[in-house]
Amino acid sequence: MKSLAELKAIKEKNKMGVMLREEQDGIRVVVGMATCGIAAGARPVLNAFTEEVAKRRLEGVTVAQTGCIGICQYEPVVEVYAPGKEKVTYVKMTPEKVARVVADHLVNGNVVTEYTIGAMQK
């Protein structure tokens, strides 16, 4: 059984990271988590982002939530804010798509155009 004592090790491992991260602006991944988003499957998408970020030990990536942004038909919606770059909006996300967004966009800086709202509206 897991015990809280394991948090001590996590704390030691991450203490340095906290200090580093507070000083730099990183990438923000925002998942829409209002009723519409949740019903469409936002929670597994959010969990998938966290898992990928933890697995790849990506420093400076924050995963957060937002409310309904008014495009419920495209939920789950994910917005990626990278410093100095235009916001990218991914629509109809799935945990499978998350792996590709993390690898291509967050790690290598290449937007996955086919998952964006621009590709959807064409």
Partner: protein, 182 residues
């Protein structure tokens, strides 16, 4: 929504919106009586009596982007579909309590689903707030309290990916033990 845990996530988001610093989610299971009760209590801004009566109306919402608010009405419907009940009470300035009873042997009762996913999603998205999750099955219980996590972590934020992963496993393993390893 296909899982009760998603409704819980949705309802608890209301507590976050209400400015609650502490939100408690209680899940009480009585296997002999085939009942499940979810109670969500927060210390947010609360609502006056008129507003409390209106939140169960799908055509009422506090947001201004459109005219429908379906979270609470859906949750109430799911409970009542199983022959259960729903209640909400609130005191302005003190907080709100939402409670729903489900009859789990009813054919229309949704599966509980991924409660660990719901709790971790809440904590991860609101690392500055505190959450308590209490699972009670036939008198055996288990509690997760983010204030205890915070104490151990000494400044490492609750949305740190390692912490989130640990929390998910912690919830899953302890819940399994409470349910009797089923």
């Amino acid at each position: 929504m296909r899982e009760l845990s998603l409704h819980i996530l949705d309802v608890a988001q209301n507590s976050v919106k209400a400015g609650a610093t502490l939100t408690t989610i209680e899940q009480t299971v009585d296997t002999a009586a085939h009942t499940l009760r979810f109670t969500i209590t927060d210390n947010g801004c609360g609502m006056d009596e008129t507003t409390v009566r209106r939140v169960i109306d799908p055509f009422f919402t506090s947001r201004t982007t459109r005219k429908v608010g379906l979270g609470i009405p859906f949750f109430k419907m799911e409970a009542e579909n199983t022959g259960g009940s729903f209640s909400i009470s609130s005191v302005p300035g003190q907080g709100t309590t939402v409670s729903a009873l489900f009859h789990t042997d009813h054919i229309d009762c949704l599966p509980v689903g991924d409660m660990a996913g719901t709790v971790t999603a809440l904590v991860q998205c609101n690392p500055q707030l505190d959450f308590v999750y209490r699972l009670c099955v036939d008198g055996r219980s288990f509690v997760m309290d983010t204030r205890e996590f915070r104490e151990q972590l000494e400044g490492v934020p609750l949305n740190n990916p390692d912490v989130v992963q640990f929390m998910k496993e912690f919830l899953e393993e302890n819940s399994e033990t409470i349910y009797g390893g089923a």
